[in-house]
Symmetry: C2
Subunit: 377 residues, 2 copies
DNA sequence: CAGTTAAGTTCAGAAAATGAACAAAGATGC
DNA sequence: GCATCTTTGTTCATTTTCTGAACTTAACTG
């Protein structure tokens, strides 16, 4: 196990990127002498390495960065069938990939993982003995310890201690997390939100997920429900939602909702792109649907900005485009519904991601726990 | 200055209340031996004291608590004229009070404070030499260092480095803060949110303010704007707001808005209480106004719950009542617009406070900085 | 009243961080 | 081209902080 100073150093590097010993010492409030020793230990452990040399006035500084092969993590997504398993290095690169059939039985899942792990590790020799954690992403609510699934409609679960079951079968430190929160962590650790302390990730797909980073840490909420924007009321007295309320964001702006509205209106559109094309050709129905969905998502994002004042809103999407009518209306609505003084102050970035986002996010949950530990006070 | 362990101990006690050395050692991850020494030092400094003795099996434990006279803080509210100055002890009790005329000139304010301070301190002899900080609460945005007012419409300020000016004139460590955020800090340190890590305070008055505590820390947002729920769009295409948008919560649910709506409808109501009385007598207009306001506030609170999943919503109000139609509708709307699964899971507590809330909150900002320091990583 | 239990203290030694001096490595100026 | 300057990073003795184990204290238990 690493000392607290060593963990802190890893955390600082993972947050601010490669840095010199002197800079790191200053940002951790330690002396250069102390930093020298800590860095030496972590380098000899193979966790850190020296990368670039920066020339300036005086002696050049040598940047320290996480050694990509310092630790490896497994990430599994329970959102698809077959379920992907990926092996990620310390820089978040996927170095191996397998799949396994999805099951709803926790014991079967653990068994499958234990069976598939050797195949995954065989793909990357250098990972031998350096597997430092396993993460699972799923749709649903997860408890604070990231050990137990409190509730998952998709999997039909209630209070399933999945992490413990997998840990027992595989012998590897295991943590589970909600899908959107896992994506947020991977964006923070390895993605485009590395240097932002406060941000929200909105994952746009058939459902709409969201997760917040506050003060450089994932904020899970008191019941693990922080970020559940899909069921905020956006159209009072709107259409009924499967959750029991009416006018939820999910009923208007999710990919599934958009497709269903198109179908209900008799449009032969299979995808958001089709609908965008129709709209650009002047189809009034397509325009109306996209307008309605874009306004709703934009309003929800405006609320997010007003309530939490994040430094970045990152919208990740597997399907669809955000450069058409839908995206434009969304941005306009977001701008129009925040304090005019703040309009344009919060960057809204959209990012197309591949279908391994969830598995990669799951792996980053394991990395996060390795880097930051369970409870950093 | 205190060592970081000493600060941490004070922070833990201020968060979890009086505790024995053994319990404190465990919760800080230190040995009993280390705790023994740290506690001894702080007791001899007069900052901690032994209070109750708890008898159980074995040697009784002695609870340690902040010494009420261990440190004193001054709090000043710039929200009223005359502006109140209060002296608070380490337990958040107000032990002295003065007022001074309000000014919009920072130099004059600092001058007035410097003049009034001796009078305030004279009221409490034991505070002599133990004044450990000064806090100022104001309406507007404050920078991250709690030193400079970025913007205050009420005071007509833009980038006013008030803390520095006051510090120079008085020689006392000074911090400024937004009014709602100051109240949140005082509820966390001394009030009813002591043991809640995640909560939001909604301050209801002529304006509507809000502040979040996340992970036991005040969350200020990336531009200091976290919690600005007053200008979230609650009635799309609603009445124009002074901020430039339409349908802001502030235009429907603030005390000022309610009174103005009543006046515009020709009701002779001076206060929320009058309006409640009218409503209870069956006045349809009063009922409609209260319904609209309560629904709006409830919807905003529902959004707050959906977005951030806090452990507590604390509504503080100087005027008005929350046990009438307005409060009932507010609660119903809040419940009806969160995921049914979560309805009722988040306590919504209302709390009537006196007009010294702001000054008390300001003092707690100083206490917070004394206890926790400027930047606890 | 002896035995048990748990809180808090003491003290030697270990661990971690500091400060100051110094070595290293390149930029700068004449 | 060479001495000088500037800044990074290391070394090491010293100081600070924490730990572990033994011990003292002060109850409760039967």
């Amino acid at each position: 196990m690493l000392t607290s100073s060593q963990q802190q150093l890893l955390r600082v590097i993972s947050q601010s990127g490669p840095s010199s010993r002197t800079v790191l010492a200053a940002s951790m409030g330690l002396s250069k002498a102390a930093m020298s020793g800590i860095a030496r230990d972590l380098i000899s452990l193979g966790v850190l390495r020296e990368t670039e040399t920066i020339y300036g006035q005086g002696r050049p500084s040598i940047l320290l960065d996480l050694h990509p092969e310092g630790a490896f993590f497994v990430g599994i997504s329970l959102l698809e069938d077959p379920a992907p398993l990926v092996l990620s290095d310390f820089n978040g690169n996927i170095v191996a990939r397998q799949t396994m059939p999805l099951s709803r039985d926790p014991d079967v899942i653990a068994e499958m993982i234990a069976d598939t792990l050797p195949k995954l590790l065989a793909e990357q020799e250098s990972a031998d003995g350096k597997l430092s954690g396993l993460g699972v992403a799923l749709s649903g609510f997860v408890d604070e310890k990231q050990a137990s699934c409190v509730k998952s409609t998709l999997l039909g679960w209630q209070d399933v201690p999945l992490a413990g079951i997998i840990r027992q079968k595989t012998g590897i430190d295991t943590f589970i997390e909600n899908d959107a929160k896992a994506v947020a962590v991977s964006e923070k650790l390895f993605g485009s939100a590395r240097d932002v302390r406060n941000f929200s990730v909105v994952s746009f797909g058939n459902g709409i997920g969201c997760a917040h980073f506050v003060g450089g840490k994932l904020y899970r909420g008191n019941h693990g429900g922080a970020g559940e924007i899909a069921h905020c009321t956006i159209e009072p007295n709107g259409s009924p939602c499967r959750c029991g309320k009416r006018g939820c964001l999910d009923t208007v702006a999710s990919l599934k909702a958009i497709k269903e509205m198109a179908k209900a209106e008799g449009l032969a559109c299979q995808s958001l792109n089709d609908l965008e094309t129709e709209a650009s050709l002047g189809n009034a129905v397509a325009i109306r649907i996209l307008h309605r969905a874009g306004s709703a998502l934009g309003l929800a994002i405006a609320h997010l900005i007003q309530f939490n004042d994040p430094g970045l809103i990152l919208i990740t999407h597997v399907e669809g485009r955000f450069d058409g009518l839908f995206g434009t209306v969304m941005r306009q609505a977001a701008e129009a519904n925040v304090l005019p003084r703040y309009a344009g102050q919060t960057p809204i970035r959209t990012q197309r991601v591949d279908t391994d986002v969830w598995a990669r996010g799951a792996a980053s949950i394991a990395a996060h726990n390795f880097l930051i530990g369970p409870n950093p006070n």
